[in-house]
């Protein structure tokens, strides 16, 4: 009896969670405004309760999937009795309703975490932060309950079996990609809540910044991994060998990442120098708004067409209203309260402050260009001004030069001093690194292929400049101490985090530059016994047979690969699958990964004479793309381990950074 009621229990738990979120939103905020400790004290228990009920609701939906309860519409549309259990588990978030529920659950987790790790914070700050997160939660849970109820039943006409999960989503990458991405998206809600709380409370000191920085870093690290996983998945699952398509769905995740990166750097200035305060707050609001937009663009069906609104107008409208309220309200609060928290402070043109300012401007410009390219076609379509698509050339034409420019300043930043320094000093520190990067970067393509290539060189110079200037900085930082090793050990985790983050970007840039310029792709006809040679690597088709999987049948080829000069060979097994429940074909790529190149074989289509069209590719340095992203994420996490974030945080005045002369000047 109880098992049959699982969806209803889940639905009920969801409603309770919504009510708790309402209390968590209203009482603590009101309490903080009227200074009532009792009201403020509601925040933490409500956050815990909300998480508990969200877990119940989420568990119930998962149970419905596991038990093949096809009377639940959501399960019937996205699962099948033949689906392996782990895909049933991940199918929960492989659809609109379930993924919004996962979003809410992760928000609950973050809220609870904030509640747990905020013992050292002033109570009114905690109340405001949790209150704002409660408000976000109210919006989302209402969205789930009103427009996207995952527990809806299709009684009494229960389908005999489910429509199955989209075969593209039946994959390990897709099991972990959405939760990672959402951890990132939702994690930015913490920074957002802190920003709004600071505005409401009218207090933004360096303690506040030390508070926010770890949360931002962790959210950013998750988002980085999430994006990398998405790119990796697209690479091996879509069968084209592309790793970034400038697809609106991808852009939606890149936007908060760019803004979040700017935020991390702006926070550094705010902490060290007490300046850039309103800018930091504005970036926090922007980042979270872009996260919201990303979630909705991807999940609401707006992207396949603006007209998807027409299919379910209530859903689209709800989205727009929610986004409008969030952005509008927070900008209003910002406009009213920002003057209170801002603090003037001067700096010279050659200083880390100035370089970070340039970094921020560049990142914001990048965000805007991507946003424009993503939203412009949607707007035109919505206004009936024609159907256009903005292709990768647009993004590449803008994004590549901006990234190179960003790298130039990124190399200078770590070696520059705060506030002011002589330009000549910076030059003497870094000219060797610059020259080295230029020489190696220009020469490397010549050595690699015997032919010069401007784009590859540009990427290599930028990446090497980052690496060498970091090495120079490490050298300088360890030169004064007795032993270099001892000095290395004394460097703070925050510094190592920065080093890893920047190195990660360099690694990614090397990957992008090489894989974009030196990939080899050959489309060939092949039958059993045929042999092709691509770049000295021989591909020999030895067999072609049919196989059966749990929920699909497939044509599988066996390809024997021999490298030039090597006697040993290995086999690759590309497949073309047909998923039975949906009757949907799928390409299963055969990959031979390597640090310096991947071999990539995908089956295209069967031709008239029984032979197959095959896509054979060699992808140099493609792994570096994702390796770099992992390094960046690791950098973000390591920086959190810095001791100053673990110090018991007492409320104190910001460091006196404004000298009398500067105060006069401004």
């Amino acid at each position: 009896m109880l098992i049959k009621m699982i969806p209803e229990i889940g639905h009920y738990a969801l409603i309770v969670a919504l009510l708790m979120a309402c209390v968590q939103a209203v009482l603590p905020l009101a309490g903080a405004a009227t200074r009532r400790p009792l009201w403020m004290a509601y925040a933490r228990p409500m956050a815990a309760g909300q998480l508990a009920f969200l877990l119940i609701a989420y568990g119930c939906l998962t149970a419905s999937y596991m038990l093949d309860d096809f009377s639940v519409v959501n399960v019937a549309n996205n699962a099948n009795s033949l689906l392996p259990w782990y895909y049933k588990f991940s199918a929960v978030w492989g659809n609109h309703e379930g993924s919004v529920l996962l979003w809410s659950l992760i928000l609950g987790v973050w809220t609870f975490a904030v509640g747990c790790f905020s013992r050292g914070l002033p109570p009114d700050m905690v109340a405001r932060v949790l209150g704002v997160m409660g408000l976000v939660s109210v919006g989302f849970l209402a969205f789930v309950l009103i427009t996207s109820n995952p527990f809806e039943r299709s009684l009494p006409n229960i389908p005999a079996d489910g429509a199955d999960l989209n075969p593209l989503l039946q994959d390990v990458g897709l099991i972990i990609h959405p939760p990672m991405l959402y951890m990132g998206y939702v994690g930015f809600s913490v920074v957002f809540a802190f920003a709004i709380a600071a505005l409401l409370g009218g207090r933004l000191d360096s303690a506040w910044t030390r508070w926010v920085r770890p949360w931002t870093n962790i959210a950013w690290a998750f988002l980085t991994v999430g994006i990398a996983l998405g790119s990796w998945w697209a690479y091996y699952e879509l069968g084209w060998g592309g790793w970034w398509f400038w697809d609106p769905v991808e852009n939606a995740s890149l936007l908060p990442w760019l803004a979040g990166t700017a935020l991390i750097h702006s926070l550094a200035v705010t902490e060290k120098r007490g300046t850039f305060k309103s800018w930091t707050v504005l970036l926090a609001i922007t980042t979270f708004s872009l996260s919201l937009m990303g979630t909705f663009l991807v999940r609401s069906g707006v992207l396949t067409s603006v007209h998807a609104f027409a299919n379910d107008p209530s859903r689209g409208l709800f989205i727009l209203v929610l986004l409008g309220i969030t952005v509008g309200l927070s900008l209003l609060i910002f406009a009213l309260r920002a003057p209170r928290v801002s603090q003037p402070g001067g700096f010279n043109w050659v200083s880390r402050d100035a370089l970070l300012l340039v970094n921020n401007i560049l990142l914001v410009v990048m965000t805007v260009t991507v946003l424009l390219g993503t939203v412009y076609p949607l707007l035109l379509d919505a206004l009936n001004l024609g159907k256009i698509s903005v292709g990768p050339p647009y993004f590449n034409a803008l994004f590549v030069p901006l990234t190179v420019l960003l790298c130039v300043f990124m190399g200078l930043g770590p070696s520059a001093r705060w506030k002011r320094m002589a330009g000549r000093e910076l030059l003497t520190r870094l000219w060797i690194a610059g020259l080295g990067a230029l020489v190696i970067g220009v020469a490397a393509p010549l050595v690699y292929t015997g032919q010069w290539n401007l784009k590859a060189s540009l990427g290599l110079v930028a990446a090497l400049w980052l690496v060498l200037s970091l090495v120079r900085d490490l050298w300088g930082k360890t030169s004064r101490a007795g032993s270099r090793l001892g000095a290395l050990k004394r460097l703070t985790p925050a510094y190592w985090g920065m080093v890893l983050g920047h190195l990660g970007l360099a690694v990614t840039i090397i990957g992008v530059a090489l894989v974009s310029n030196y990939s080899v792709e050959r489309n060939v006809r092949m039958n059993v016994g045929d042999r092709v040679e691509v770049n000295g690597i021989g591909f020999h088709m030895t067999a072609l047979d049919e196989r059966r999987g749990p929920n699909y049948v497939s044509d599988a080829a066996t390809i024997e690969v021999t490298r030039e000069g090597a006697s040993a060979s290995f086999e690759m097994h590309p497949e073309k699958r047909l998923y039975i429940a949906r009757g949907m074909p799928m390409t299963q790529v055969a990959l031979r990964p390597g640090l310096f190149h991947d071999l990539y074989v995908a089956m295209g289509e069967e031709l008239d004479d029984g032979s197959w069209a095959l896509r054979v590719q060699i992808k140099p340095f493609v792994r570096w793309l994702w390796l770099g992203a992992l390094l960046m994420a690791a950098g973000g996490i390591i920086a959190v381990a810095d001791r100053r974030y673990r110090r018991r945080l007492s409320v104190r005045e910001p460091e006196p950074v404004v000298t009398a002369r500067e105060a006069n000047a401004s």
Binding site: T304, I361, L372, A397, M586, T587, A665
Partner: protein
Amino acid sequence: MRAKRRNKMLLVLGLVALCAVAVGLTLYALRSNINLFFSPVQIAAGEAPVDRQLRAGGMVKEGSVHRDSDSLDVSFVVTDYVDDVEVRYSGILPDLFREGQGVVVVGELTGDGYIAADKVLAKHDENYMPPEVAEALEDAGYSPADYKQAGPGTSQ
């Protein structure tokens, strides 16, 4: 004080210049990289530009797909049930490419009236109808219900 003011002036000028460059580049990049969509009717009426990248779409006409026997060259006809346009492509067609289904192709219209496609797109969902195609079909006088009934198997 004067140096300070000059610095501020420089800052403002620098920002303005940077913004101008950014906006200029963006508009230029947008202008040269926008692909407009055309339906077969529009192409037949000569509305589509020749030798410039565009997107076109409709249903793949039944029985129109021809593969070259030696290479990977393929040709097919895209129709909106009023007019047809021939598409030539070399390479591997997407998994969901089928006769009687909606496709979008990206390529150039040649002087000889066929489209030399660089890309053929069929969405990763067997029920998906590219919205441009759906609208083009509606403009050609077919309601969505019609082409659902007239789906794979029946030729118009």
